[in-house]
């Protein structure tokens, strides 16, 4: 149906890469915009609402509305990051200093490819996931690659040759290690469940979604979801876990010495991590592209076709768009939750972060794993 798969391998790769960039960058920008707007609303402010573009601003209702929404700030910010002077402090290690933001971006963008973002129904009515690289290792790949992101922080901290970035880098690495464990342990019950005895073993996230046509794992395994979510906050260095940045005590943490486009790369990477993290969470615990618990994508499409009588609803393109929409909605909601939490909960002290990771979450995750292992064993032996 798509000529796409007839394209040469390298062209496919390039197009996919461009697609990732074309999606992630604007999304990251939109997130930054959303963050400013949401924080403003939560604080009783209107938020950014000044920037405007002449012709659009002249459109009677829409122009002012977009301006009030602060949409054009996004463009202005982007332009600013691109055209701003790029200072490189004299005391830094230039190579690593320049390398760090690039390294930050690579795993963020790379992880995307292993995350399915929608599905369509093929002629047989089977659900085919939309994914750039449908690798079987799935979640493991995501974990493996995204964890590399911390290197950029460490490199940035070290290369800056300055005490705040250095401390920021140290904190980032320690924090990542601390919470990676809990996170990984928290998803194990999900995969224990997916990999039914006798079935083909898989770590595929698409499979995960497929298994959530009924009850979502979030309902099934709330504790896992909770541990995963908290760890996700910590992994993405979001408040209340943004110790590496921690502007109150570390000025800007690892990126203190960065500015302009290099800084924006860190910025985009952070949002990319958030997007991926949210996506993974949605896939694991919120049913992926299944619209509601106990309502699968196939059910939805079937009802739609039945109700409207339109045939094209069953067309793969339409289903794909619906599924992407559902998935994206969930992701954006999670992004909102990130922001919501950020403007609600104050930052932890660093020792509290460590304590929470090692003494609370890790035992909890282990306990959770054991509990679900027993439950699953019990349930599956019964069925």
């Amino acid at each position: 149906m798509f000529d796409f798969f007839q394209y040469p391998f390298w062209l496919q790769g390039a197009l996919k890469g461009l697609a990732v960039i074309a999606v992630i960058f604007p999304l990251a920008g939109a997130c930054s915009m959303a963050e400013r707007k949401i924080s403003a609303w939560m604080q009783g402010r209107p938020g950014p609402n000044r920037a405007t573009v002449p012709w659009i601003a002249w459109i009677p209702v829409l122009g002012p509305f977009l301006q009030r929404l602060g949409v054009f700030h996004l463009l202005a910010d982007g332009a600013k990051f691109l055209f701003k002077e790029e200072p490189v402090p004299g005391h830094v290690n230039k190579l690593y200093y320049v390398l760090a933001p690039v390294i930050a971006l690579i795993p963020a963008l790379m992880t995307i490819v292993a995350v399915p973002f929608g599905a369509y129904l093929d002629g047989a009515g089977r659900v085919v996931p939309l994914i750039l690289a449908n690798v079987d290792i799935g979640i493991l790949g995501v974990f493996a690659i995204s964890s590399l992101g911390v290197y950029s922080l460490i490199i940035a901290g070290w290369a800056s040759n300055s005490k705040y970035p250095f401390l920021g880098g140290i904190r980032a690495s320690a924090q990542l290690i601390s919470y990676e464990l809990s996170m990984t342990l928290s998803v194990l019950p999900v995969f224990l469940w997916i990999n039914v005895p006798g079935g083909q073993g898989t770590l595929s996230l698409a499979q995960c979604v497929a298994m959530q046509g009924g009850a979502w794992f979030g309902i099934w395994m709330p504790l896992s979801a909770f541990i995963f979510l908290v760890s996700l906050f910590a992994e993405t260095n979001r408040q209340p876990f943004d110790m590496p940045e921690s502007e109150a005590d570390l000025v800007g943490g690892f990126h203190t010495e960065y500015g302009a486009f290099k800084w924006s790369m860190f910025f985009v990477a952070e949002y990319a991590h958030m997007l991926i993290g949210s996506g993974v969470f949605a896939l694991l615990f919120l049913g992926g592209w299944n619209p509601l618990p106990w309502v699968s994508l196939a059910d939805l499409v079937g009802w739609l076709q039945h109700l409207t009588g339109w045939a094209f609803v069953l067309h793969p393109l339409a289903v794909g768009l619906i599924s992407i929409g559902i998935f994206l909605g969930k992701v954006l909601f999670l992004i909102f939750v990130f922001m919501w939490v950020r403007w609600t909960v104050p930052r932890f002290r660093y020792d509290q972060v460590m304590q929470l990771g090692w003494q609370k979450l890790l035992p909890l995750a282990i306990g959770n794993l054991i509990l679900y292992a027993l439950i699953i064993a019990w349930v599956q032996t019964r069925i």
Binding site: I38, A40, W41, M42, G44, R45, P46, W340, V341, V345
Partner: protein, 183 residues
Amino acid sequence: MAVLPVERKPLSFAERTYMPQIFSGLKTTFKRMIKPAETLEYPEQRPTIPNGYRGVPTLVKDPHGREKCVSCQLCEFVCPPKAIRITPGEIPLESPTGHVEKAPQAFDIDMLRCIYCGLCQEVCPEEAIFLQNQYSMSGYSRAEMVNHKDRLYELGGTLPDKHYKWDKKKSAEDAAAHGGGHH
């Protein structure tokens, strides 16, 4: 100093997880988010300045256009950050306000130093200096941030005068000059 141990309230399990607090916090922020904004959108919307507001210090003239400051330098003396600098001068006898004798030759307020405390207004015996409604002072250089006498009068304008101290004095002098003394 004695050490007073303070008994902390024992926390319940729920409290120790912090979750109820976090959720109530989330509730608060969410509620706040859907309420209308409180902020004033500054350049378009201007705040209503309450009485007694202490804005930029200015010099005022009386309703007859006479400069009220007589350069007594009390404000210069009292100014905590030493933002005021006055060069006193003499009013020539033939001037219409010659009976006042003294007026500032130069009157500078360094707004980079000014802390808007209002002591100058309080101490002024001539009611010549007022912290008025003007609250934004900006400039591109340090020199620009020093308000000179002309600028201070421009900012200050004219305020009603309850006393007309010097006018009364002048009319008494004129009366004495025409009345030919006392005997």
